[in-house]
Amino acid sequence: MLLRHIDAYGASTPERVVVVGAGGFVGSAIVGELAAAQIPTLALTRQSVNLTGPDAARTLAALLVRGDAVVFVSAVAPARTAAHLMTNLTMAHAAATALAAVPPSHLVYISSDAVYADDATPVTEASPVAPSTMHGMMHAARELLFRTEVPAPFVALRPTLIYGAADPHAGYGPNRFRRQAARGEPITIFGEGEERRDHVAVEDVARLAVRSVRHRSVGVLNAVTGVSTSFHDIAHIVAAQFTPHAVVQSVPRPGPRPHLLHRFFDITTCYEVFPDFHFERLATGLARVHREVSATTAAMPARANAT
């Protein structure tokens, strides 16, 4: 199923939205977006409920109220190993058990485009789910688990590569490039950096999540911009944000050159279901992130001086 709205006009304001995984990069952005929309929110972090603990389901159920809208974004990510996979499934199982006991009015799951086959292009919501990685398999299994175990309207948002000022990861892409440049190091790209990927701002993922809540959307939506940019070009965009410009340096690939270099998305479904939603363009988003990080960096010594 692609996506449909139970509330076509997006006028639903749930009495409360519970965000499970609110302390993470994406979760905190969603909490911020809900706050901006003045939607009452219960933000649950690892400190509120440990989903890998023995009493996780009961603890979470005790925090829920029947009729809550729930956004589930908690994960050990990226899931690289079998142990990560099993931990993530344990977390999802606990959450699904709690949500089955205290059914929500709506469940939003933040998944990943890793659920699609590597050779799917252009990817749409109708592309077959055929993950080739532990991470993709984890999200695919969790989607199935929530869809079948929780008696509530369910939507899976599948973001692609996410960037943002608060990203704690240093995976290959804009966040790593920015950090390298900030340290005065060359920005390193593998080979010529010709692989083209779609990158989405975390704020856009959060806005889509809140829209899905308001519309009580059901089905699947890819949280992707529809524009794929090479790592080479991204590196040069980031490099130009620094004075003097950072150096972009090609380094040997850590492994063989991938057979399928690029990933493209067709975002027609997003245009159809959220016609007035538009993604921030990558260059604009990277410039904004640079400003935000620079402002934070500049403010830190000031705060230190104040104390």
Binding site: P122, T124, A126, D266, T268, Y271, E272, P275, D276, H278
Partner: protein
């Protein structure tokens, strides 16, 4: 039977009406039957329910040989009875055969024992075999109607494909005499072969359309121009001058989709491999949304107040049909924006109440930020690019079917986009 056989067509929608008038044009007395008394009255008064170039004139010239009636007794006078209502389809390509079934039963129950009954409406393999009545054979003939070219297709068929309960036996004399009047090859075959032949034709057409659309999109990315490539392909005898090589917004209208759905259903029932058919449908869905995607990329992301003009609502030119129309689908997804539309024939569409209907193409372009030419009506080809540019507020013109002269549009300062070239 003495002299020319009398021909009946049951079901006065597009197929039956065009076919009945074509029969009369070949000199046959023709009974044009429908159960809808009001429809028959309107037809009798010369008011046709379909838009089809040349049909009104052809009927007027041959009016004396056509008898519109809702009286089943009139069918007793007929030597060949064609059951020919249009078969509607739902959004999933499933046929609703209820009207056809009713008329087949009527024909079988009413026709003289020596008369020949032919199913002309499109059906799935097995349909006609299941309608054989004791003591009476029911034949199946492949219809090849094309919306907008109905008169040409009905009066000048390339060939007749006739499904027979026993193809080794000669055709009934009356049917044979009637078909020979069209002076084209007659190909008798098994009932199931004929039923699948129609589907096969449409699958081949869809294959051409899909290849064209696939490569046209590649052209848009690599600097090629499909309009330069297509003529070269047509000189290849294996492809031919009549090949469908014009890029478009997927496949529309409903009939082709129905045939794809039928093949997939047959594949699922019999375990045959038919993934290419699913791929046709996937490509169609992708190309169908070209205008929506391009509008968002060129304009809508930055202009929440944009006003959009749409030329054409029908799913193709020379028809009033909006079934599966890319234009209607586009407008449905432009909810937040003001849309003004013009179609030479379609004046309103259910569910598009917010659309302002303009009185002319130029009127629809007036004050808009982007103009999408969604149906290649002939009258749009006469539009002057400079006049459009003067009427419009913005510069974006999306012309998937190359109705306008692209160079003239660009010379007029328009941001012109079409299929098959960047």
């Amino acid at each position: 039977m003495t002299g020319l056989p009398v021909i009946a067509y049951l079901g006065m929608t597009h197929l039956g009406l065009c076919s009945a008038v074509a029969a009369a044009s070949k000199g046959f007395s023709t009974v044009a039957f429908d159960r809808d008394v009001d429809l028959v009255r309107r037809l009798d008064a010369g008011t046709l329910p379909v838009v089809e170039p040349g049909l009104d004139d052809l009927l007027r010239v041959n009016r004396a040989r056509v008898s519109f009636t809702a009286d089943t007794a009139a069918l007793r006078a007929c030597d060949v009875l064609y059951v020919a209502p249009d078969v509607p389809t739902d959004d999933h390509g499933q046929s609703d055969c209820s009207v056809l079934n009713d008329l087949v039963e009527l024909a079988v129950g009413t026709a003289r024992p020596d008369a020949t009954i032919v199913v002309l409406s499109q059906v799935a393999p097995g349909y006609t075999r299941a309608r054989q009545a004791s003591g009476r054979s029911v034949y199946y003939q492949v219809e090849t109607l094309v919306f907008g070219r109905g008169v040409e297709r009905a009066t000048l068929p390339e060939r007749f494909m006739v499904g027979c309960p026993d193809p080794a036996r000669p055709l009934p004399a009356a049917l044979d005499a009637y078909l020979r009047a069209f002076d084209c090859p007659i190909l008798p075959m098994r009932l199931e072969s004929a039923e699948l032949a129609k589907i096969s034709i449409n699958c081949c057409l869809v294959a051409s359309i899909t290849v064209t659309n696939t490569l046209a999109e590649v052209c848009e990315r690599v600097g090629a121009d499909w309009s330069e490539i297509a003529p070269a392909l047509k000189f290849d005898k294996r492809i031919g001058h009549g090949a469908y090589l014009s890029p478009g917004l997927g496949i529309g209208g409903g009939n082709l989709e129905r045939d794809l759905a039928t093949v997939i259903r047959l594949s699922e029932s019999h375990g045959t491999e038919a993934n290419v058919i699913r791929a046709f449908a996937g490509n169609s869905a992708h190309r169908r949304s070209w205008v929506l995607r391009t509008l968002h990329m060129m304009l809508l992301a930055d202009r929440p107040d944009a006003r959009i003009g749409v030329l054409g609502l029908a799913y193709k030119e020379n028809t009033h049909s909006v079934k599966n129309s890319p234009s209607v689908a586009l407008i449905h997804h432009l909810g937040p924006w003001m849309v003004q539309a013009y179609d030479p024939v379609v004046r309103s569409v259910d569910g598009l109440d917010e659309v302002k209907h303009a009185e002319s193409a130029l009127d629809a372009a007036r004050g808009v930020d982007a103009l999408a030419i969604m149906t290649p009506w002939a009258e749009f080809r006469t539009l002057n690019a400079a006049a459009l540019a003067a009427a419009m507020r913005g510069r974006v013109v999306l012309d998937p079917f190359r109705v306008l002269d692209g160079r003239a549009a660009q010379a007029a300062g328009l941001q012109y986009r079409t299929l098959g070239v960047n």
